[in-house]
Symmetry: C2
Subunit: 383 residues, 2 copies
Amino acid sequence: MISVIGYYTTRFGELWEKSLFELVKKAITGVLTDTKVDIDQVDAIFFGNMLGGVLENNLHSGAKIAEIVGKNIPVFRVESACASGGVAFHLATQYIKSGAAKNVLVVGAEKMTDFSPEQVVATLAAAASGEEQEAGLTFPGLYALIANYYLKKYNYTEEHLAHVSVKNHYHGSLNDKAQFKREITVKDVLKSAYVATPLKVLDSSPISDGASALLITNDQKFIKKALHSVSVLSCEVATDTISLKHRKNLATFEATVIAAKKAFKRAKVKRTDISVAEVHDCFSIAELVALEDLGFYKKGTAGDAYTKEPPMVGTNSKLVVNTSGGLKAAGHPVGATGVKQIGEIFLQLTGQATNRQVKNAKFGLAHNVGGSGGTAVVTILGS
Amino acid sequence: MISVIGYYTTRFGELWEKSLFELVKKAITGVLTDTKVDIDQVDAIFFGNMLGGVLENNLHSGAKIAEIVGKNIPVFRVESACASGGVAFHLATQYIKSGAAKNVLVVGAEKMTDFSPEQVVATLAAAASGEEQEAGLTFPGLYALIANYYLKKYNYTEEHLAHVSVKNHYHGSLNDKAQFKREITVKDVLKSAYVATPLKVLDSSPISDGASALLITNDQKFIKKALHSVSVLSCEVATDTISLKHRKNLATFEATVIAAKKAFKRAKVKRTDISVAEVHDCFSIAELVALEDLGFYKKGTAGDAYTKEPPMVGTNSKLVVNTSGGLKAAGHPVGATGVKQIGEIFLQLTGQATNRQVKNAKFGLAHNVGGSGGTAVVTILGS
């Protein structure tokens, strides 16, 4: 069994004073210091990063990280758009299972705020199909198509979506590493400017810098002496068509459905066993669709549930979602997101989540999406 | 034990009529048709590609390939500069060993000739360190530093380098899929224009389009019914500092030395067992350094050996190098190169190398490098 034995994340936000690799170094140093593990004991590194090539002509980051850590170990950069961090984690766990390594660092990072928002939005569209790019569709546009479809299909309003952001901003206010630490109201969301109807600024995750790192191992010596550890019960990846036009139903992400089914089966836990989940809320609509696809709510019911009993810290909800603040409030440095999600579940299951701690959490789930659902990664952890 | 059971490559060259994903589709269809394996029997795909993001804002290619094949299977894009194909193969073999998959496609592709050479050279510099990029160093410049150091250290001349290209062009003339099928002479090389002294146009691999695909499996049913198969005895990855300034000796790639040592140890074969090798000759100097680092020649002796008895098809040399034509003559569509190298060894060990066939080849080696030696992958195959 593989365990997560350490997690460190930089603050997410506009970190103009640090370069991509300075953030990576900070995250790696942080997790090694916290766990008292030496870099000599690390066998390989998996690195999730989406935009380094496009934005700053920065590729071959595996070797660049090898130079930073001063070791000749294999360092692999993987890219699956916004799912780069989750995919890096998936491949790292399989790499350990293969016998190629025991102690592996999984690092995710992105540097986005040095560039104009227009430039970042244009490059993020690289995750969409050529056709969608040529049609001028950006990610807010793609998710707006999904939102319109969902709202109409289930007779919901923009107010239902607003509750997602309100909850996530409340959680962000409890997380020192979050980009946004202020609470917002449904009214704030509804009066914010439209980005792509029906999605508004406060339905949308921000552009962010940040780096996160996890240390994982199957070495019993390391697990036993670790201050904190959680078991990786499963981590599954599935894909779907890249273009929305090839999908039968825009209100569901097939990749999430498939990855979740496989992950629950392998982990041998039930939906009701999960107390905390980090799901991919790049836009408010994405959180509702995700929770239904993951099987926590029946299709079309998440909107109602959120107005009645949002899955928020401090409520009676048996499931609490996005305690980190989610992509919306914690920030969304693309490559780091999937790593941070698993890190947040690690903090929750080991009682380290301070004032946003969910009581008696035994099992948690992280859900990371690439593009508009082309890739999904579902990871289940157990304490 | 994992076996390669099929290989298909498009022609390498200026393929203006095909897009990146049309090339990918052609390679995948080719290998599935040749092996009579259905896409439904494929569990995962690993995709090596370097420049799709930078040159054509084309990321998240895993999901794009999932759409092409019409399956929800995991598709992973990995990027390690010019070693992307080799690294994809390495991770694919470990993925099988982990138990996550049995039948895996390893695909590499690059689309470069639609862009200006200046643009391609600038984006290729993404594989170098930020410092080297800022200093204006391009890849010809970096390898020129290495060539100058090597020539001076071992008292060689530019003529010694020229023999590498002459041999590889001869091999290219025997390969239908090669970009350059004409023979050249030492005189041709020496009178070609300097790119970065002492390296000339005919010391340098070209800018190319192309896609290559391998089908690998550990399923005995598939191996038994395969028309052709070779065993993957080992595939190892190592890294080095990204910047040349941090290296003690420019005439050696530490990443190659480490990966080769591990690969030979794991494969349990000797250097003298290897009859055919594909090595990373992005520039002529790289082939000489590679063959010494791999342990086929003592340090500083490859230059002499090449003038006396080049490792060429049709000679008495016990080792034949770059029968495909190498990067120099077969072409260098970056992401495809590492996959094609392993494919060429597969062809040689299964007697399918037509008029460039090396007789009685039982063991072969492929060597793929990222950047100026920041990453190296060494793969040993046995028939």
